[in-house]
């Protein structure tokens, strides 16, 4: 009897260990797949120009006029540089101000969008969360509909409105449409609705007016969601391409995200260093507010709600 129980327990333990091993393997494969591009970019940014050309020359040779010759005719994914060099970084950061200029363009386009979008979304979501009625339901439904549309759909109307306002080819053409995002309103409304009604009533009894309830009770209560929206908006607009290509054609005003796609054609060796530098701000923002980002998305009903 006891032997049978022990054998059954051993079998269950073996199955349990096998399950864990399979899950770990599965998760490991996906982790490697997801991490590989990032690791490749960072490690390759420390390679010399010659080494990068030798590894990836064939990719960039296609379609190039002038019949340039490359050492390698195959793509060779290489993670460890033959010789670590900071030359690419020195070129990007010190010798070619062009890249830093584009980086700065990205900052002055993304920051106003990020801050103003969250400010507008916070006020709108407070309204959606606090007031009821048919008009509110209709408006919120419209917001959801707009959220479901791909951003490319609104590009033409945005261009027409920008043209009409005379702001085409200025930063406002990108910033203004960016301020009013239904996605942020949706996430923050979910979060604002989670602020208990009793807390708002307690604030009213404490003498707070609507603005004080919003700024001193609701906003701090939704800190997690606000931070997660800030990060998501930042990443979204930090990587923007289509909006800029359509609304901001002046290359001097374009951000590094546009420049990155072109840099590959000529300066392939710099591409990895520039991409690595470009990765730093979103990464820092994420690391700074990782906990609140996770909490914010979880309590806001999640991205997939």
């Amino acid at each position: 009897m006891t032997d049978n129980i022990n054998a059954a327990m051993r079998k269950r333990r073996r199955i349990h260990i096998a399950k864990i091993a399979l899950l770990t393997l599965w998760a490991g494969v996906f982790a490697v797949l997801f991490l590989m591009p990032t690791v490749l970019t960072i490690s390759n940014s420390f390679m010399s120009s010659t080494e990068i050309t030798a590894n990836y020359g064939s990719i960039f040779a296609v379609g190039q006029a002038g019949g340039r010759q490359f050492i390698s005719e195959r793509v060779n994914l290489k993670f460890i540089p033959d010789m670590v060099t900071f030359k690419q970084y020195i070129t990007v950061l010190l010798k070619s101000p062009d890249y830093l200029f584009k980086f700065w363009n990205a900052v002055i386009l993304t920051l106003p969008i990020m801050l103003l979008q969250v400010a507008v979304a916070a006020v709108a979501s407070y309204g959606f969360a606090r007031y009821s009625g048919k008009f509110r339901t209709f408006l919120f439904f419209s917001y959801i509909m707009m959220m479901l549309m791909p951003s490319q759909v609104t590009l033409v109307p945005n261009w027409l409105v920008s043209k009409w306002l005379g702001i085409i080819d200025t930063r406002w053409a990108v910033v203004l449409p960016g301020i009013f995002s239904p996605f942020s309103v949706f996430i923050l409304t979910k979060s604002m609705k989670r602020v208990p009604k009793n807390i708002i009533e307690a604030a009213r009894l404490d003498g707070a007016n609507e603005w004080q309830i919003f700024t001193r009770v609701c906003i701090p209560s939704c800190k997690g969601a606000l931070y997660s929206v800030l990060i998501l908006v930042f990443i979204d607009y930090w990587n923007m391409v289509e909006q800029v290509l359509v609304l901001l054609t002046n290359p001097d005003k374009q951000p590094l995200s546009i420049f990155l796609s072109r840099i590959n054609a000529g300066e392939i060796s710099l591409a990895f260093a520039v991409a690595t530098i470009y990765m730093v701000p979103p990464l820092l923002l994420f690391l700074h507010g990782e906990e609140q980002l996770v909490e914010g998305i979880t309590y806001s009903g999640g991205l997939k709600s």
Partner: protein, 345 residues
């Protein structure tokens, strides 16, 4: 300090549901009034109308002689303690308590003095820097009390403040609130569904059902002379026993209902009369006393008595009712027939 008057107050929700119907009540200055009743009886709605968190559909509410209809909650000079504490989670205990005063732009020194004084009274001095998430339910409720107290309002409103606490804390907080009322000498309106809280705390109890006041009187009066069968059944644990008069050999027809409290029934001869014989179904031992559940002619009868080991399950006993302790009610209206308790069952 202020008294409260509710004059023909009614509340009807947009869907047509009537929460409060023609509510009339005068609460004297410094009085401790408890609104008690089952869930959905309109007691919280009444409290929220006093607070201004809900508008009454008709009628008038006066606080300190001033009509409060249409007046914002912040301008009513009242404080409210909620069941869920309603503390600002992102603020420390100190900031929670100081919030109302900061909004009113009270000088910082005065805020500090008042917060520390109340914290001392409530035993929160060493917890002023903590956030509500790091505190127990009892401590949170004390902070909620403190937040109300520092504002020194004219009226305190309590919306089932002890419902979320365990039995031990509830008893402790109950006595703290009673002591608080004695110290601050302000009008207290307290809502609860727990009749023990109502009986132990209030100067006056207002029993409500279906949005209507069933009886408003002192706890003793409500217990001894309930105005109707609802009040008699709602107040008192275990619940009062109801019998048709003719079933227990009392004077009167089947239209008369006799109510006898469990402690007024005995299984041994006493100064009273036998109302029948009952079979002991089960016994609930409560420590010093016990509840005996009997079956008498198909009726469930509950009696409370000191612990007596001779009473055994399955045995049949004569049930005695104490003289002068029964209450009579009209079976059709449910109203008490006589204000005096009936002498003989």
């Amino acid at each position: 300090m202020a008294g409260i008057v509710l004059e023909n107050v009614s509340k009807t929700y947009p869907g047509g549901g009537k929460a409060v119907i023609d509510f009339n009540l005068e609460i004297a200055d410094k009085e401790f009034v408890v609104l008690v009743g089952p869930s959905g009886c309109g007691k919280s709605t009444t409290l929220r109308m006093i607070a201004g968190l809900e508008e009454c559909t008709s009628g008038r509410i006066y606080i300190g002689g001033e009509c409060m209809n249409g007046v914002e909650p912040k301008d009513r000079d009242i404080a409210m303690v909620f069941q869920s504490y309603a503390l600002y989670r992102h603020m420390t205990v100190y900031d929670n308590m100081a919030f109302g005063l900061k909004i009113k732009k009270v000088p910082k020194k005065e805020i500090d003095r008042r917060v520390r004084e109340i914290a001392e009274i409530l035993g929160l001095t060493d917890k002023l820097k903590k956030k509500p998430s790091a505190m127990s339910g009892g401590e949170c409720q004390r902070v909620a009390l403190g937040r109300a107290l520092v504002r020194q309002p004219r009226v305190f409103l309590f919306d089932e403040p002890l419902s979320n606490l365990d039995a031990k804390l509830r008893t402790q907080m109950r006595s703290e609130i009673i002591r608080l009322h004695e110290n601050v000498q302000t009008t207290f309106v307290y809502v609860t569904h727990d009749q023990t809280e109502a009986m132990t705390m209030g100067d006056r109890i207002v029993v409500m059902d279906h949005g209507v006041i069933q009886q408003a009187a002192s706890p003793r009066e409500i217990y001894d002379r309930p105005a109707n069968m609802f009040t008699a059944g709602f107040i008192g644990t275990p619940q009062i026993n109801f019998f048709k008069a003719n079933e227990i050999g009392a004077s009167g027809s089947s239209d008369v209902i006799v109510g006898i409290r469990p402690e007024d029934l005995h299984l041994a001869p006493c100064d009273g009369a036998v109302i029948g014989s009952g079979n002991v179904e089960f016994i609930e031992l409560l420590g010093a006393s016990m509840n005996v559940h009997l079956s008498m002619n198909g009726h469930n009868v509950i009696m409370t008595c000191p612990v007596d080991n001779s009473i055994a399950r399955g045995n049949t006993y004569e049930i005695w009712a104490e003289k002068g302790k029964s209450r009579l009610f009209d079976a059709s209206t449910g109203l008490a027939i006589a204000s005096k308790t009936e002498a003989e069952a």
